[in-house]
Symmetry: C2
DNA sequence: TTGTAGGCGTTATCAG
DNA sequence: CTGATAACGCCTACAA
């Protein structure tokens, strides 16, 4: 019934012109107070709603931004998206979400689709296999803001928001050192991703600072799931001199490690200390709660959104901004006896 | 540089008209094979991309659908959204996500915004406090599909996808009965929400089927978090004849119950059996894994998307469709000794 | 202060 | 088979 009321409908009703209605509705300064009120009143009566699509076509701004992640049901990513949405919704933006399923081709297609949909910006975490750059350049050529969060790629002019993974790795390792551990192993994800590489560096940095030498036997690179953790700890235990602590760059791996250790009758934290990474919800629910590095995900999302907004407001000077948030080590039972 | 190539740019270059280009690009049957190929080739050369916003204005279809949930970072909802996205993306739709934070006013505002943005459909779970209907009617008046998932409201003409919560409650309770439990308590969420009410009914139904009488002392209605679970079990233990099993409509409550029981030296499952609801990720990671009812969330999302697509394809006959998916009881350690 | 006249990029109708 | 032309709903010079 009241479907599709346009400014012209209300103009006709009032015997004025569409332009005037438009101006009145937009509080254009040069319009009489009388007509402004009349228009506003009539608009409400007729249940007029501005058609954002028409506005988008006219203005070249869709007020939609695209968010691209590997999977949206991973708590890490969904929290970030929550942050993004909460920061952007009040500014009138809608958030379109897309998943890459960790495949570069999907990432490419998705970005193209988003571009065709005229999004005003793209906030994303790249896939593990991303190696091409042309799809990112296409975004930049169109002059639309591109912001990486967490998993970034080095591209001139592209801003990013990450946590300081070096510090996260450093803090986790330092904590184990402080706990008296002497042989600290590190189970890492694929170091092709910067985040994992940085955590490794942090781990090495902490060792170096106390003059522990890095032992390659104590470094394992593997997938980030429970099974990988179980396999990794078996390898480590088979060493002549097994480690006495594990810092894992994944909570799932840490969980696998703990499960296997218990299965083998080892005690955590008495015989083995374990620290994970990401502060996944389950780490604090376990009977033996797991020490982990919190990545302040909601805050990361909000920050990414803010960088986007900033980039929108002064598009003239495009500064490459690299924001690094400080991770927080959450000490729980798996790494300490105090 | 290659910013903004329109069909007119390629028309001009070829000395033909925009209309022809449009037809060629859309594989309109009445166009010569020669021009079709030429246009296609030139379009690619010039890196032409169709502007979806213009198309949306022209066609009245934005190819965006809105998804509204309380919080997107709850694993239950993010999984559903994953399902929706995966079903709709291949069909050319983009998914806009919005959060209500469990507040009706936000729900109302969000729906209005989505409507202004000309979404082609709205898929949602209502807030716990939703009582008004006018914002939903506004959607229906505009003739855009509205589909509820999980938390629904009874509105004529509105389809919904839920799980069979009655069956979930029934199965959980029946399982405890089969395990030999005689005094089964139920800790429920707010029964103002249909989902919880149904679970209660399922619980009662199972009791009735084996001639157990419903004992009001064994029924507690409370919030759905860990603390609520801890408090609830304390109340139940204070009864003259405490229960020997708990069916909770929340995994968090179940966790709280288990934590408190252990703290008090009670053994699970030996002294007490516990069953939760939702199959939250953490239930299978615990040292004592928790029996729960899986709600096949991804599937629910896909189903909701399919109902939407169906409604789009034949908008003439608007059938109210109520899909109920079968939940699956996942039996783990907290409820059985076998 | 208000009206007129495009134009944003497409597609659809109607001629030719 | 292809070219004009109008229209989707809105905004904004430019005129009046």
């Amino acid at each position: 019934m009241n479907d599709k009321v346009t400014i012209y409908d209300i103009a006709k009703k009032l015997g004025i012109t569409g332009a005037t209605v438009s101006r009145a509705l937009n509080n254009n300064p040069k319009i009489s107070e009388a007509t402004r009120k009349l228009v506003a009143k009539t608009a409400k009566e007729m249940n007029y709603k501005q058609n954002k699509v028409a506005l988008a076509l006219k203005s070249g701004k869709s007020n939609n931004i695209g968010v691209v992640v590997p999977y949206i049901d991973r708590s890490f990513f969904s929290s970030i998206i929550r942050g993004i949405e909460e920061e952007l919704y009040p500014k009138g933006y809608h958030v379109i979400i897309c998943q890459t399923h960790e495949e570069e081709q999907n990432e490419i297609d998705t970005i193209n689709n988003l571009l065709n949909a005229q999004v005003d910006g793209i906030l994303m975490s790249v896939t593990k296999q991303t190696s091409q750059l042309s799809h990112f350049n296409r975004v930049l050529e169109k002059n639309i803001p591109l912001i990486f969060f967490d998993r970034r790629i080095n591209i001139k002019g592209v801003s990013s928001v990450t946590i300081d993974d070096y510090q996260g790795g450093y803090d986790a390792t330092k904590h184990l050192i402080d706990e008296g551990c002497k042989r600290i192993a590190h189970i890492s994800g694929d170091t092709a991703l910067e985040i994992y590489k940085e955590r490794v560096e942090g781990y090495k940095g902490a060792l170096k600072d106390v003059n522990f030498t890095f032992n390659p036997d104590y470094f394992i690179q593997t997938k980030s799931d429970i099974e990988a953790g179980q396999n990794a700890i078996l390898k480590l235990l088979a060493l002549e001199t097994p480690p006495d602590a594990i810092f894992s760059s994944s909570d799932y791996v840490a969980l696998g490690v703990i499960q296997k250790l218990k299965e083998l009758g080892k005690r955590v934290p008495e015989d083995f200390r374990v620290v994970g990474f990401s502060n996944e919800p389950f780490t604090k629910f376990m009977e033996l709660t797991i020490t982990s590095v919190d990545q302040c995900t909601v805050e990361m999302g909000k920050m990414a959104a803010r960088v986007f907004l900033e980039q929108m407001s002064n598009s003239k000077l495009k500064i490459e901004k690299r924001v690094q948030l400080s991770p927080e080590l959450i000490i729980r039972q798996s790494s300490t006896q105090r």
